[in-house]
């Protein structure tokens, strides 16, 4: 069964360092998302991406964050200068379409720990 894959599963970084989280969405999907979940808290929307551009972003998704789909298969989330409060589980999701097809398929997540 097709699935969304994320790497790395866990990354530890120093505050101020750049981090890139990678996702391979399901191949025929058109819509891509990043969510994050701070430990013990709710799943929060960060950004949605369609047709090679950001379609919507949340207040959390400030100038330190960026997303890219560089090669038609990977979907990356970059945090330019990590802060302690960026420590969270980051989930990538993809969706095949709109309406009845719009079901988000999530990856297993990438745990980011900022020291």
């Amino acid at each position: 069964e097709p699935e969304v894959t994320q790497t790395p599963s866990h990354q530890v970084t120093q505050m101020g360092q750049e981090v890139i989280l990678r996702c391979v969405p399901i191949s025929n999907h058109l819509y891509f998302y990043w969510y994050r979940q701070i430990l013990g808290q709710k799943v929060e929307f960060l950004v949605s991406f369609y047709n090679n551009e950001i379609s919507e972003k949340s207040e959390i998704f400030d100038d330190q964050f960026s997303v890219e789909r560089p090669d038609g298969s990977n979907f990356t989330l970059k945090i330019r200068s990590t802060k302690l409060e960026d420590s969270a589980m980051y989930f990538c999701a993809s969706s095949p379409g709109q309406g009845a097809d719009r079901e988000l398929f999530f990856g297993e997540g990438s745990r980011l720990t900022v020291l």
Binding site: Y31, V43, S48, E56, G99, E103
Partner: protein
């Protein structure tokens, strides 16, 4: 703006007992509703979804949910809980007619007593 509330932060039930997890949503357009489950340290797995038609939807693992437009609710039910159902459950809402984001509720943590 979309919002989802799950009034119960934590629920404990005995194995074999019935379960109902509550979810209320606020959304101006036709909602697209989901229930996801998350086991500790794992990703999010879709249990079921509703976008139109029969307001009682069946999902995986014996779960079902009922959409009640008049109450803006989408409660999740299971007639007999198994110990393996212990997990975090998230209700979520999205817009049916766009690629708009899906918003998650705060989650309900389910514990199952043997």
């Amino acid at each position: 703006a979309q919002s989802v509330t799950q009034p119960d932060i934590h629920i404990t039930v005995s194995e074999g007992a019935s379960l109902e997890l509550r979810c209320n949503y606020s959304y101006g357009a036709t909602p697209y509703l989901f229930w996801y489950v998350q086991s500790p340290g794992q990703g999010l797995q879709l249990l079921l979804k509703y976008f139109s038609g029969d307001t009682l939807v069946q999902g995986i693992k014996g779960f079902e949910a009922e959409f009640k437009r008049s109450q803006s609710s989408f409660n999740l039910r299971k007639p007999s809980v198994h110990w393996s159902d212990a997990a975090e459950y998230f209700c979520a809402v999205g817009a049916l007619a766009s690629y708009d984001k899906v918003i998650f509720g705060p989650g309900t943590s389910l514990s199952v007593i043997p």
